[in-house]
C-alpha cells in the first residue's frame, strides 16, 4: 500500500499512523434536537472499531454521519468535521455519492434488493460504472470474501429473498465489498441473526481486517470484545442547556483497556453489564 502523506492538522490521539477517518467536534442535530455532542474519534487503518453504548445514545447517528447517510434525513444537520484521509467530507465541493462509494455500509436488518443474488452483488459496480474485466469474476470474488460463495454458487440467478437472514446479511456484505470500498460501516449487523449466523459474520469481519477499515455498532459486549481493536463507549447524558437527552462519547481506547481497565466508572458499569 502507498504510504500516506497526510496533510491533516489533527494528530492521532492514540499515537498511530494517520487515521483513515476521524471526527472532530462532531455534533449532530435532528431539527432542534441535539442528538450527539462533540465527538472526537480516530479510525485506524485495517482495524475494527466498535461503537457501544445504551440505546438512543447516538451510535447510529455517528456512524451514519461518517458516510453522509444523514443527508437522506431532511431534518438532520451536522456541525464539526468528519475527515477521510484528511479531507473534510462535509465540504461543499464534496460529492456524497463519491464518499459512499469509498465508505460502504451494512445495515441492521439485511436489506437485499428484490433481485437475483448475482444482480445484488453486481449492483454497486454497475451503478458506479466500475471498470471490471469480468463481472462474474468480481461477483464470485466478493461472494467468496463474504464466505457465501459455496452456499450460493449453484443458485446465483435465484432471488436474494430466498436466502436465510444470515445469508442475506453476508450477501449485503458481499455487495458492499464488490465496490472495493476502503471503509465499511456496520450498524448492528448481527442483531437480527441467530448465534450461528452471528459467528459467521464475526469470522468474516476478522478476515476482512486484512483489507478494510471497519466500524461496527454493536449491542453485544462479547462481540465488541471479540472482534474489535478499539472501542468507543457512548452514553446519553442530560444537556445542560435544556435538560434533554444528548449523546456523548465517554471513552475511547484499545478494546482491552475499555473492557479491563476503563478510566470511567460508567464505562466499567456498562461493559460489566451493570448498566444499560
Amino acid at each position: 500500500m502507498t504510504s500516506q502523506t497526510s496533510t491533516d492538522a489533527f494528530t492521532d490521539t492514540r499515537g498511530h499512523v494517520p487515521p483513515v477517518m476521524a471526527t472532530r467536534g462532531l455534533n449532530v442535530y435532528y431539527g432542534d434536537f441535539h442528538a450527539v455532542d462533540d465527538v472526537n474519534l480516530d479510525f485506524n487503518r485495517r482495524e475494527v472499531t466498535a461503537l457501544i453504548g445504551p440505546s438512543g445514545c447516538g451510535k447510529s447517528t455517528v456512524l451514519r454521519s461518517l458516510n453522509r447517510m444523514n443527508d437522506l434525513i431532511p431534518s438532520a444537520r451536522i456541525e464539526g468535521e468528519v475527515t477521510y484521509h484528511g479531507q473534510n467530507i462535509y465540504q461543499p465541493k464534496i460529492d456524497p455519492i463519491e464518499v459512499r462509494r469509498r465508505i460502504g455500509m451494512v445495515f441492521q436488518k439485511p436489506n437485499p434488493f428484490p433481485k437475483s443474488i448475482f444482480d445484488n452483488v453486481a449492483y454497486g459496480p454497475r451503478v458506479t460504472k466500475m471498470k471490471v474485466d469480468s463481472m462474474s469474476d468480481l461477483v464470485e470474488q466478493s461472494l467468496r470474501r463474504a464466505a457465501l460463495w459455496d452456499e450460493v454458487k449453484d443458485n446465483l440467478k435465484g432471488s436474494a429473498f430466498g436466502l436465510s437472514g444470515g445469508q442475506q446479511q453476508r450477501l449485503c456484505i458481499a455487495r458492499a465489498i464488490a465496490t472495493s470500498p476502503d471503509v465499511i460501516l456496520l450498524d448492528e449487523p448481527c442483531s437480527a441473526l441467530d448465534p450461528i449466523a452471528t459467528a459467521a459474520i464475526e469470522d468474516l469481519m476478522t478476515d476482512l481486517k486484512q483489507e478494510y477499515t471497519q466500524i461496527i455498532v454493536t449491542h453485544n459486549m462479547q462481540q465488541a470484545a471479540r472482534i474489535s481493536d478499539t472501542t468507543a463507549f457512548f452514553t446519553a447524558g442530560l444537556d445542560q442547556d435544556n435538560g434533554k437527552r444528548i449523546g456523548r462519547l465517554v471513552e475511547y481506547n484499545d478494546t482491552s483497556t475499555i473492557f479491563n481497565n476503563p478510566a470511567e466508572k460508567s464505562t466499567e458499569d456498562y461493559v460489566s453489564g451493570r448498566f444499560g
Binding site: 460502504g104 451503478v127 458492499a176
Partner: protein
C-alpha cells in the same frame, strides 16, 4: 390490611347495563349498505347480460365477432363488432402513449425527488384532477386539442399518416383520454413506490447510487407490480370512458389504428345509440346490451389483473 371476605366486596358488574339498541341499529344499517351495494352491482350485471340470449338468437355469434362492417341500424344490418373494438383499442393506445410516461414520470418525481412541501401541494392536486368531470375533458378535446392537431399536423409524414385529421380524430380523443388518466396512473404508481421500504433505498444510496439510479434501478423494479396495476387501471378507465370519445373521436366505425382518422369506440356507439331514437325490442336495442356486456367483460378482466398485481406486491413486503 382489612380482612374482607368475598361477600363484602362491591359486586363487579359484568352484565350489560343497557341493551345498546342504538349501536345495534347502526351496525344493522352498515351491514345493509354493504349488502345492498353488492346486490345492486349484481343487478346491473344481470340487466346487462340477460338480453344476450335474445341478441344471439337474432345475430349469429360468428357474425358478431367478425370484421364485417359495423352497421347495426341499417335496413340490412351488419354486426362486425371488431370495428368498434378496434376503435376503442386505437383511442386507448394513444391514451397510453401519453399517460404511461407522464404518469410514471410524475410518480417518480413525487416519490423520489419532490421535497416534502412540493409533495404536500402536488399530491392533493393530483387527487382533485381525478375528480374533474369527464365532459370537461371532452370539451377540452373538442375545442382545444382537435384544432391544435389540425393546424400543426406533421403533413410531411408518409402516406395517409400525413393527412391532417378532421373535426373528429382518434388522436385527439386518445391524447385527452391520456391526460385524463395520468392522475390515476400516477397516484397508484406513487403509492406503490412509497411503499418500497426505506431500507432498500438506504442500501442503494450506501453503495454510491445517485438519486436517479435509486429511482430507476431499485424503487421502480421493486414497485413494478403496483406500477403495472396503475397502468392497467388507467387502461380500464380509458376503455370505459364515454364523454371524451363521444365528443372527439367521431361516429365512423373505421377499423384503423391511425390517429388522424375518425373511429367509433364501443362506449361512443352505446352513448350515441342510447341517446338516439330507438325502440325497445329492435336489433339495435339488443346490440347496445351486447356491446355493453363485452365492454364490461373487458374492463372487468383488466381490473381483476390490476387487483391481483397489487395483492402480489403487498405480499412481497408485508
Amino acid at each position: 390490611m382489612s380482612t374482607t371476605t368475598r361477600t363484602d366486596r362491591p359486586s363487579v358488574v359484568l352484565v350489560a347495563q343497557s341493551s345498546r339498541w342504538g349501536e345495534k341499529l347502526i351496525q344493522f344499517w352498515l351491514g345493509f349498505c354493504a349488502i345492498a351495494s353488492v346486490i345492486i352491482t349484481v343487478g346491473i350485471v344481470l340487466a346487462l347480460f340477460s338480453p344476450l340470449p335474445e341478441f344471439f338468437s337474432r345475430v349469429d355469434f360468428r357474425e358478431f365477432f367478425s370484421t364485417d362492417t359495423w352497421a347495426p341500424a341499417l335496413a340490412t344490418p351488419s354486426f362486425g363488432v371488431w370495428n368498434i373494438v378496434v376503435g376503442t383499442l386505437n383511442v386507448t393506445m394513444y391514451a397510453l402513449i401519453v399517460a404511461l410516461p407522464a404518469g410514471l414520470g410524475a410518480a417518480i418525481y413525487l416519490s423520489e425527488f419532490a421535497g416534502r412541501r412540493a409533495r404536500k401541494v402536488l399530491k392533493p392536486i393530483l387527487e382533485v384532477l381525478e375528480g374533474v368531470p369527464t365532459v370537461a375533458y371532452g370539451i377540452f378535446a373538442f375545442t382545444f386539442v382537435t384544432p391544435l392537431l389540425r393546424d400543426n399536423w406533421p403533413t410531411w409524414l408518409p402516406g395517409d399518416l400525413g393527412d391532417p385529421p378532421g373535426i373528429f380524430s382518434a388522436g385527439a380523443a386518445g391524447i385527452v383520454l391520456g391526460i385524463m388518466i395520468i392522475p390515476t396512473v400516477a397516484s397508484i404508481a406513487e403509492d406503490s413506490m412509497s411503499a418500497v421500504p426505506r431500507s432498500l433505498r438506504e442500501g442503494a444510496y450506501g453503495l454510491g447510487s445517485t438519486r436517479m439510479q435509486v429511482a430507476t434501478k431499485v424503487v421502480v423494479p421493486a414497485a413494478l407490480s403496483g406500477i403495472v396495476a396503475g397502468f392497467v387501471l388507467g387502461v380500464s378507465r380509458a376503455i370505459g370512458e364515454t364523454m371524451v370519445v363521444l365528443l372527439a373521436a367521431g361516429a365512423s366505425p373505421n377499423m384503423t389504428l391511425m390517429p388522424n382518422e375518425s373511429v367509433l369506440p364501443m362506449t361512443a356507439f352505446i352513448g350515441r345509440t342510447a341517446t338516439g331514437d330507438i325502440s325497445a325490442g329492435t336489433d339495435v336495442y339488443f346490440t347496445i346490451f351486447a356491446v355493453g356486456a363485452l365492454l364490461f367483460t373487458m374492463t372487468f378482466v383488466m381490473n381483476m389483473i390490476s387487483i391481483a398485481l397489487v395483492r402480489r406486491f403487498r405480499e412481497k413486503y408485508e
